[in-house]
């Protein structure tokens, strides 16, 4: 599905007759929905709904980056769990200290450290405990994990994919189910328009229309998420 996700925001595709699968240039700034209000609510550990919201939004991002760093499924799941715990323990500090930078950068560092912990556990057979209290302000920790360009680009890529996923999830409940199914088969799963039309028992024109309308909503949702992120800075 990866290519499909990357191509989803191709302007040509949204205009109807897709010709070139050229990924739309997405801005590199923080644009995931780190809604300021959500971060504020996370300070209350008993606010289960907000934590669930947070987990639903970010677990896949952390998990994917962990997998792409060479960890196995179970290890990646541990990374998700430990990163979320790190966020829980350090969110107050993050909120207080604006010099820690963006939430995106902070979360990236927490994730990288938890991945590094897993890799160390492999080599040391679990001899070293995980330091889940460590956060971005602990400068001594930084040299331990190489901040290569590759790792950076993996994070960026997964961040974008995660954003698309969140936007799609939000839009899913806003449109008629049949429309979303047509859009999903054509734009996300990249079935040929004729096959989608045959499968869904609709005209090819309706397939293009669904893609245009739902696609417009997805783009609008992304803009909204980006705006939310900027407000949280």
């Amino acid at each position: 599905m990866g290519d499909a996700w990357r191509n989803m925001f191709d302007e040509n595709q949204f205009s109807g007759q897709g010709k070139v699968n050229r990924p739309m240039a997405l801005p590199v700034e923080d644009f995931i929905p780190t809604r300021y209000s959500l971060l504020s609510r996370l300070q209350n550990w008993d606010d289960h709904e907000s934590w669930k919201d947070f987990f639903d939004t970010y677990w896949r991002l952390i998990y994917s980056v962990a997998l792409r760093s060479g960890l196995k499924d179970a290890e990646a799941q541990d990374v998700v769990q430990e990163t979320i715990i790190s966020v829980a323990r350090n969110i107050q500090k993050f909120k207080r200290d604006r010099t820690l930078g963006s939430f995106k950068g902070w979360l990236r560092n927490l994730t990288r450290w938890r991945i590094a912990d897993q890799l160390r556990r492999r080599t040391n057979a679990g001899a070293l405990p995980t330091d889940i209290d460590r956060d971005v302000s602990d400068e001594w920790a930084l040299p331990e994990i190489p901040d290569s360009n590759e790792a950076e680009s993996v994070w960026e890529e997964e961040w974008r994919l995660n954003l698309l996923q969140v936007a799609l999830k939000n839009v899913r409940g806003l449109v008629k189910e049949e429309y979303y199914q047509i859009f999903d088969l054509y734009a996300v799963k990249q079935w040929p328009a004729e096959k989608v039309a045959r499968t869904m028992d609709v005209s090819v024109g309706k397939v293009y229309l669904a893609k245009y309308r739902v696609g417009a909503l997805v783009k609008k949702e992304i803009r909204r998420l980006e705006a939310s992120e900027l407000q949280s800075q």
Partner: protein, 323 residues
């Protein structure tokens, strides 16, 4: 239902269930434990025990007990509901229990070996098989829709329809866990399981229909309910694809975000399920007939009309000119 490792040999005091020997803890239901038990005749049963201490205030404990009392007589009158065979304890005591028929074993079916018994639920089947053929989805959906309809007709709602609460008894699907059964419109408290709860909240017949729709979505597509309404990328051969897309119409109709656009009642839903089972290509509004069938029909009608016209004309002539 999860299956914990605790056994009856553990030191924790156990409630007394009349004429039954509790053998092994086999799962947790809403607000209580479910035990494998054996009655005086040596027949294995499931016993659900609900403890007052599991609830932070007495109201939900009382509600659960009252729901059970209402459900108990109805349960044995419909094949799609798990039979409640005995109820013990009271709302005033520290616990109450109900003895139910036991689900088949996940591996051996109706033959029960208490040492490694694992209840066969739809949740278990889904984990093992990921996705069920459409024919099986219908054979499963229709009796559950019928059971829900039966509850609704008697003014009750289930509020927790999900794969884990659909068990198999002698291979037949039944709706289990009456823990959240309550009177229709009596409560709008947010109970149930996330993903199966209708957007407007539980507490109505249409919310039960929504939950059943989500169950049918999961078993027919193999996808998680959170991915609704996405379709699977792999739909099988053309016949399987056609069946899935027809079944998809029933799922969408059951799961509309706006409750007014959903099936109005389970009878409507069951009608579509049965229509699909017996005439998958005809009764769901699909334009399946080939074009030539339509033209042949029109031609046939014209011929028939011509014959009738000629006969009438002939009779009229004979009446007017008998010679």
């Amino acid at each position: 239902m999860s299956t914990p490792a605790r056994t009856s040999e553990e030191a924790a005091p156990r409630p007394v269930v009349a004429e039954h020997q509790l053998i092994r803890l086999i799962g947790f239901g809403s607000g209580g434990e479910v035990w494998l038990a054996k009655n005086a005749l040596g027949i294995y049963r499931a016993v659900k025990i609900v403890f007052r201490k599991s609830f932070s205030n007495p109201k939900p404990y009382e509600n659960e007990f009252n729901g059970l009392l209402k459900f108990e007589p109805l349960s044995r009158r419909h094949d799609g509901l798990v039979d409640i065979l005995q109820v013990g304890g009271s709302v005033a005591s520290d616990y109450f229990y109900c003895v139910m028929e036991l689900a088949d074993d996940a591996h051996t079916g109706p033959a029960i070996n208490p040492d490694d018994y694992q209840p066969r639920t739809l949740g278990y089947d889904l984990t093992e098989r990921r996705r069920l053929p459409i024919g099986e989805c219908i054979r499963l959906g229709a009796p559950i829709a019928s059971a829900l309809g039966f509850l609704h007709q008697h003014g009750l709602i289930h509020r927790d329809v999900k794969p884990a609460n659909i068990i198999f008894v002698n291979g037949f699907p039944k709706l289990a866990d009456a823990g959240l059964v309550t009177e229709m419109f009596k409560t709008r408290s947010r109970v149930g399981t996330e993903g199966y709860i209708a957007p407007e909240g539980p507490g109505t017949a249409r919310a039960d229909i929504y939950a059943l729709g989500k169950v049918l979505y999961e078993i027919s597509t193999g996808k998680d309910r959170s991915e609704y309404p996405e379709l699977p990328a792999e739909m099988g051969n053309p016949v399987e694809m056609r069946d899935l897309m027809q079944f998809n119409k029933i799922v969408l109709q059951a799961c509309r975000t706006n409750p007014r656009l959903r099936y109005r009642n389970t009878e409507e839903m069951m009608s579509d399920l049965l229509a699909f089972q017996f005439c998958p290509r005809g009764l769901l509004g699909e334009k399946n007939l080939p074009v030539y069938v339509g033209w042949v029909g029109i031609f046939g009608l014209l011929v028939a009309a011509s014959i009738v016209f000629l006969l009438l004309w002939h009779m009229t002539l004979r009446l007017l000119h008998p010679e």
